[in-house]
Structures are given as C-alpha cells and as structure tokens.
C-alpha cells in the first residue's frame, strides 16, 4: 500500500487561557491515491478539526500531514475543500466563483481562453453550466453545493476534502448529489476524504470508513473496508448482504460501543 496522504501522529490541543482541551489524540491514517475515505463520528468528536488540519486551516499541536511524502501545514489548492455551507462568495456569479480559484492555480500554466474553457468544463461536470451567470442567492442549496464542488475540482486538487458536504440538504437532493459525486469519483479518480455523520452515505460512497471515538481526546476507533464493487447502485445495495453488514458494523460502533454520552 502506497501512502498518498498520510496523517502522522496528530494531536490537537485547544488552549484557552489556563484551560486546555485535547480534541484529537494520536491520529494515524494513510490514504492511497484514488481512494474514497470517509471519517464518521458523533458531533463534537473533532472530525471537522481533523479536516481543517489536513486542509491547513488549523495546525496540529503535534504530528503532521504528509502529501506525497511532503509535509503540508498551510492551506493550498492541492487540498481543495468543499465546505458544509457551500461558502460561495455572494457577490460573484457562479462562473466567477469557480474562476477565482482557477485564475490563481493556473495563472502561469493556462492562457485566459484555456482557463475560461476549464471553468466551463468543471461547471459541466456538475451540470451547472446553465447557471453560469446566476448569483448564489438565485440558485437552490443543492445547486450551490454543486458549484462548491466544481470550484474545488477546478483547482485540480491532489486530495479533495469534503466537510459534511450534503449535511444541509434535503434527503432527495442529498441522494442526487451523492450519485453525482460517485460518478465524478468514478470518472476522474480523485482521492477524496469526506467528513460525515450519515452511516448510509459513508457506506455507499467510501472505500474505507474511519470511525472516530467520542471526544475529548478522540481517536480512530476502527477502520472498516467496504468491499463493494463500483459503480455502486443505491437501489441494488439496499438488499446487498455486504452493504448491510458494513452498515451494521458502523451502526454498532457508533451506537453500542461509542454511544454519544451527552445525547443518551
């Protein structure tokens, strides 16, 4: 197994005045190129903090992130993030939102016309080319998230980081968008790391599911391989024995062995 993205002994301690909380403890994880990995855990377990550390938006207290054997500790387009609440800039059109990243990443390597074509190509990938001149306030939540995905994809990231990308969407839109992400992953072969708290979503999309224990001092409790062939079909999987077994396994982890204490 070749490590493409490697999380090496990551600890994260938040200090406020004299009080300090250990959020993450000794996180070790290797991700292969082209893999789809999900991190699942109850809210407050520090999974978003972990994603922020990988994205470089927060720094680990100890340990580090290696991407292709090189340490990364500041944000960059090689680890593009799709944020939970889309984070499109409301004063820019759909096209301009995607173009912003493209102009920075390909400033030297692509001409103006090529960059324009590349933006449109990525909008086409997420089926949003028709809304290129609309502003974020004029399109639906699902569409915004599609544009968010296009913006991240257009930066040609080595690793695509998804921070609960479907969390704010209704169930039908969510399913539709999950299928789109699966198709994109199939087509482009990106390495994807997704944060989620939805068991079905994790099993459906991932090659591996990383289950985190409850915080404080959250650790990786278990890593589950999902040996389902791709392309996967939502409807067929509903009765698939492997799918159900994987699902069962994650549910057991989350609701029996690591129940969310505060909610109980």
């Amino acid at each position: 197994m070749t490590a493409y993205l490697k999380l090496d002994h990551i600890d994260k301690i938040f200090t406020r005045g004299a009080a300090s909380t250990e959020v993450l403890k000794d996180i070790n994880l290797t991700i292969e190129k082209g893999q789809y990995v999900s991190i699942i855990g109850h809210s407050g377990c520090g999974k978003s903090t972990l994603l922020n550390i990988i994205a470089g938006l927060t720094t680990a207290t100890t340990g580090g992130v290696l991407l292709e054997n090189r340490e990364v500790n500041s944000p960059g387009p090689d680890r593009a993030v799709v944020f939970q609440n889309h984070s499109l800039l409301p004063w820019l059109t759909v096209y301009e939102n995607v173009r912003l990243g493209v102009d920075k990443v390909f400033a030297r390597t692509k001409t103006k016309a090529e960059r324009d074509a590349w933006v449109m190509h990525n909008l086409n990938l997420v089926q949003m080319a028709h809304a290129r001149d609309k502003r974020p306030s004029e399109i639906s939540g699902g569409m915004k998230q599609r544009v968010g995905i296009a913006r991240a994809l257009a930066m040609e990231p080595k690793v695509l980081l998804l921070d609960e990308p479907f969390g704010a969407l209704d169930a039908l839109t969510r399913a539709h968008l999950q299928d789109s992400v699966m198709a994109l992953h199939q087509k482009l072969g990106n390495t994807i790391l997704m944060i989620t708290h939805d068991v079905d979503e994790a099993v459906l999309l991932s090659d591996r599911i990383v289950m985190m224990t409850n915080g404080p001092s959250a650790r990786i409790g278990e890593v589950l391989e999902v040996p389902l062939a791709r392309p996967r079909k939502r409807l067929e999987l509903a009765t698939n024995a492997t799918y159900l077994k994987c699902r069962q396994r994650v549910l057991e982890f989350l609701y029996e062995r690591h129940r969310f204490v505060e909610a109980a």
Binding site: P77, A80, P90, W91, L92, L100, S137, M155
Partner: protein, 298 residues
C-alpha cells in the same frame, strides 16, 4: 385497474395542457395597459400624501404669518421676495453677489473634496482597525473620544493651522464625516465570515487580492452605511462652517441674508439646503445599492 387509471390521467391531463397556453396567451396581452394603470396608481399613492401635507402646512404657515407685524414672512411674500433668485440662479455680479447655483456649487465642491478625503482615509483606517486587534486596541478609544467633538469646535483650530478659510472648511468636513466611515468599515471587516477567509486561504489569495476580492465586497454594506451617515454629516457641517469662514457658499449666503434682514432669502436657502442634502443621501444610498447588490441578499 392499472389501465383505467392511466387512461383517466391522460384524459384529465390533455385538456389542461391545451388550456394552459391559451389562458397564458390571452392573459399576456391586456396587462400592458393594466401595468401602466398600476404604475400610475402606485406613484399616486406615494406622491399624493406628501403633496397634501405640504399644501396644508403651507396654508397654515400663510395664515399664521399673514398678520401685520409677524416676525416671519408668509410663503406668498417669500416667493415674491425671492422670485429673482429662484428664476435666475446663474447670475454673477462679482464678489459674493452671485446666483444660488454658484453658492450651492461652491459648497458642494468643498463637500466633495472633504468627503472624498474622509472616505478614502476612513475606509483605510477602518480596514486597519477591523483587521488588526492591536490597531483596534490602540486607536478605538481615541476614535470614540474624537468623534464626539462637534464639527465647529474644530474650526478655530484648523483656521490656526491652515491660516485660510478654504482648507479649514474642507478639514472640518473631513473630520466630521470620517468617524462613522471608520467605525462602520471596521465592524464590516470584523464581521467577514470565517468561511470567506477559509476560501481565500485555500485559493491562496495574496493580501492585496484578499483586500480587493473578499474584504471590500464582504464589508461593502457596512461601508456604505458609514458613507451614508458621513455624507449627511458633511452637509450639516459645511453650512455651519461657511457661516464663519465667509466667501461664496450657501452657508455664508444664509448668514449674509440674516445680516441684511432678508428673511425670505434665508427660507429659500434652507429649502435648497434640504433638497441638496436629500439628493446627496439618495445618491450614496443608490450607489450602495448598485455596488452591494450581491452581498446584501446573502
């Protein structure tokens, strides 16, 4: 069972599909005249009430001031006295004996200069204070004290410093209108959502690009609130400042009219000052609306 169900659906769906466009077609034509009628109604609803109120107030004023020995002239006298000034605002007899247009334009020029300076400096200082915690800690208490100083209190000091009326008036405009611009800009910058900062970090915008592409558009609604308060204060300050520095300008025109007991001219000038202040306010508000059309709806 299934068959009949489908059939029923088809039967009910078909007439609807035919009828729908027909209804739409017949509906589309007539609204033309109807839209005009509605627009006229809406305009009337907005325009008539203030006109009625103005007419009533003018009537009351006329009745109250008509009596002999009244201290203030009634509107009919005001109009009679100032007819020449109203009808010919462009005359120029040299010195300060000019039409109202020239007085207003002199005042507006001072405001334009002082206000532009304060907009530039105010936004710059606001960005600094909003962005840097240390700048805020150091400067904010100072701003909070300075902004309470009345505009005219600055005038003697600026006259002493500049030894000339013109730059002193401009300085008074500047120092009066800068505070709301600084404070609102700083609040806007501080309220930029972390999401936008994260986006900028991932895309790796440099500080200059961050300033122009994220900071200014994100804070624009706040900045324009400050700019709008600022223009109002500038116009307040210029009239007062001009009364003291003299020369051409609407403020001195009022003072001069008072000294020569031309009360009607004062009333006319006040009318113009009000209208110009209103237009300036609308102008900045309109500009803000155009500039922040994306941000405001977020």
């Amino acid at each position: 069972m299934n068959m009949t169900a489908t059939k029923i659906e088809v039967e009910t769906a078909a007439p609807a599909a035919v009828a729908a466009p027909v209804v739409a077609m017949t509906l589309r034509r007539p609204p033309r005249s109807e839209t005009y009628a509605r627009m006229a109604r809406e305009t009337a609803v907005r325009v008539i009430p203030p006109l009625v109120v103005i007419a009533l107030l003018t009537l009351v004023w006329e009745l109250v001031c008509r009596r002999a020995g009244s201290a203030l002239p009634p509107p009919s006298k005001v109009f009679k006295d100032t007819k020449e000034l109203i009808l010919d605002p462009f005359f120029d007899h040299g010195g300060i004996d000019k039409g109202l247009f020239w007085h207003l334009s002199a005042s507006l020029q001072r405001v334009a200069l002082g206000y532009s300076l304060s907009a530039i400096a105010g936004i710059a200082l606001g960005v600094l204070v909003g962005q840097s915690v240390w700048a805020m800690r150091g400067l904010d208490p100072l701003f909070q004290v300075l902004r309470t100083i009345p505009p005219l209190a600055w005038l003697p000091l600026s006259l002493a410093a500049f030894r000339d009326g013109q730059p002193s008036a401009i300085f008074v405009i500047f120092i009066t209108s800068i505070w709301p611009i600084i404070i609102n800009t700083a609040v806007g910058i501080r309220n930029i959502p972390q999401d936008y900062r994260n986006v900028a970090a991932v895309v790796q915008l440099n500080p200059l690009e961050f300033f122009s592409k994220i900071m200014i558009p994100a804070a624009a609604p706040y900045i324009f609130t400050g700019l709008r308060i600022g223009i109002g204060l500038s116009w307040l300050a210029i009239v007062a400042a001009e009364m003291l520095i003299g020369g051409v300008g609407i403020g001195f025109f009022i003072w001069d009219a008072w000294n020569s007991s031309h009360i009607s001219e004062i009333i006319l000038a006040l009318f113009y000052v009000g209208i110009v202040g209103f237009v300036l306010d609308r102008l900045i508000a309109g500009l803000g609306k155009v500039v922040t059309r994306g941000t405001a709806t977020s």
